[in-house]
Symmetry: C2
Subunit: 314 residues, 2 copies
Amino acid sequence: MFDFKELEAFVWVVRLGSFRKGATKLHITQPSISDRITRLEDSVGESLLDRSARPVQPTLRGREFFTHAERLLEGRDEAMRLFQDEESFSGTLRLGVIETIASSWCPTFMRRLAERYPQLTIELMVDISPFLHQRLAENDLDMLFAMDGLVPGLCAIQTPLCTFEMGMFAAPELAAALRQGDMATFADTAFISFSKQARPYSELVAYLTALGIDTPRIHSTSTLMTIMRMSIEGLGIGVLPVATVRDAVDAGSLERLTLEEPLPPMIYDAIWRRSNYPSFCASVARLAKQCAADYAQDHGKLSSPSTMKGYVDT
Amino acid sequence: MFDFKELEAFVWVVRLGSFRKGATKLHITQPSISDRITRLEDSVGESLLDRSARPVQPTLRGREFFTHAERLLEGRDEAMRLFQDEESFSGTLRLGVIETIASSWCPTFMRRLAERYPQLTIELMVDISPFLHQRLAENDLDMLFAMDGLVPGLCAIQTPLCTFEMGMFAAPELAAALRQGDMATFADTAFISFSKQARPYSELVAYLTALGIDTPRIHSTSTLMTIMRMSIEGLGIGVLPVATVRDAVDAGSLERLTLEEPLPPMIYDAIWRRSNYPSFCASVARLAKQCAADYAQDHGKLSSPSTMKGYVDT
DNA sequence: TCACCGATGTTCGATTTCAAGGAACTCGAG
DNA sequence: CTCGAGTTCCTTGAAATCGAACATCGGTGA
């Protein structure tokens, strides 16, 4: 069975019409060229070159084989080019993103990524961070935009991506009632947060406990949109990333509540397995970080709430 | 630089998700598989497989490379198939044909050849036999349909193809004059034949000499069509393959002259260089011979001339 | 016409390189 | 601790390459 060396020898002898010239081209001796061509002919079982001709010429079959040989050599060179060009990637990137990001700067990011890597295929999965981490560990995903929370033992690279300020929001009527009520009114009101396994939920519980609210009623839902919808309907106080509800606040559907102590922000990283093409993933992470920064700048912070004991809406 | 063995190892380990399974598939040991993958990774300078995963999985770059590797292996198999399938040929056949054949059964032959070898590319050259033989010797042509006449030293295969009966034809008025004249009238009339270097010309000279006509006037032209045209115009007696002037005779433009002794027939062979893919060329020759036989059957012989001393037209 | 020379490809033997097998080792999971 | 799977190491045989010698062909000059 022939190898690339035999193909190279054949192709160059045909192109240059001479064993000697082919040998010089490939920096080997003439007997070696002769050997390679003979080996190739032995492996296919037919003569491919007419040596009596001057210049040396392919046989009919040799001419047919030549186009295949050229194509194979070009294919090998093309494959080698994958590793020499840091600036392109033509494979598939399986990306896991938490919903907050999917709802904020991710569309912009995807557009820029496609411009940057035109041959790239993206598979996007949206889920909460713990599930995303599990999938990274199981090698179902290549890269995450999520909160930290690595599965123990997984060797991965992690780089800060963005921070989202969290806020509490209520429908105007509920907000008015809370403004006229006291701490007990606040404590009796239902809260609406993400899935129980998600970090926002546990951070909310801790925050309310620190306020003295030991048994809060918290509805948990799986999507940011549902939280927003329920909050607008007046079912409770939604705890959401501030930037993601700017439109609803501007429309008057929701009002932000002023808190004595700010909620802890949600911090997100870009995370990928160490074994996975580090420079490409680092490049993707940089691009994502830029998109996040642009988004934060465009959407800014909602007006700074004045500090009052307890809570106050804006 | 990697070879096909390394590509095979990589592709099968990825497909089967296991070094051990890949080794079993390729009938080698596990350390050998490990070596091949390592050699491949060393040659490209990057890790292509994540060995900590179960099953073993390609890295991002590995996945990108996989499609190339598969394509290269398929390309090699495709090239090998050229030598295992006697029934197809996808290259270029450079065919040299004498004009008589080009004007008779060659169009039919070309059609059948294209049906038989759909991927074949044909380059057709029409010339007289000596020139065609020269070009075969210079490797400008792969195969001839011509009279024998090999350039000395050229190692070639030759197989009988067809025979064309030769006849003498004249315009009706000239034919009438010849019928009323005698041998001197015939000897004084100009003859029209092919190029001086062509066999028909020298055969005509020999024929007339045997008739006692030592210094015949013979016009020589390079094409069969020109001979026919000049004969129809009454410029002389055209010496042509009988089958090729059937239409002109049927139309009354030309009349066949009856001869005491028949002209020697023109015998044509299929000829190709021994080094050139013998089975394919033999197959082409068989197909050509069949077309020639079909043509001879369809066109038959013109009516047998009755024998008279000297000459007589039909 | 013949002998000689130069160019080119092939063959042969020696040397070097490479690939594969088998044994031992390492690592992770149960 | 055991087992399954992959890696490392050493030995051996096969394969590739080199250099020298040989063979062939075409051109040139006497």
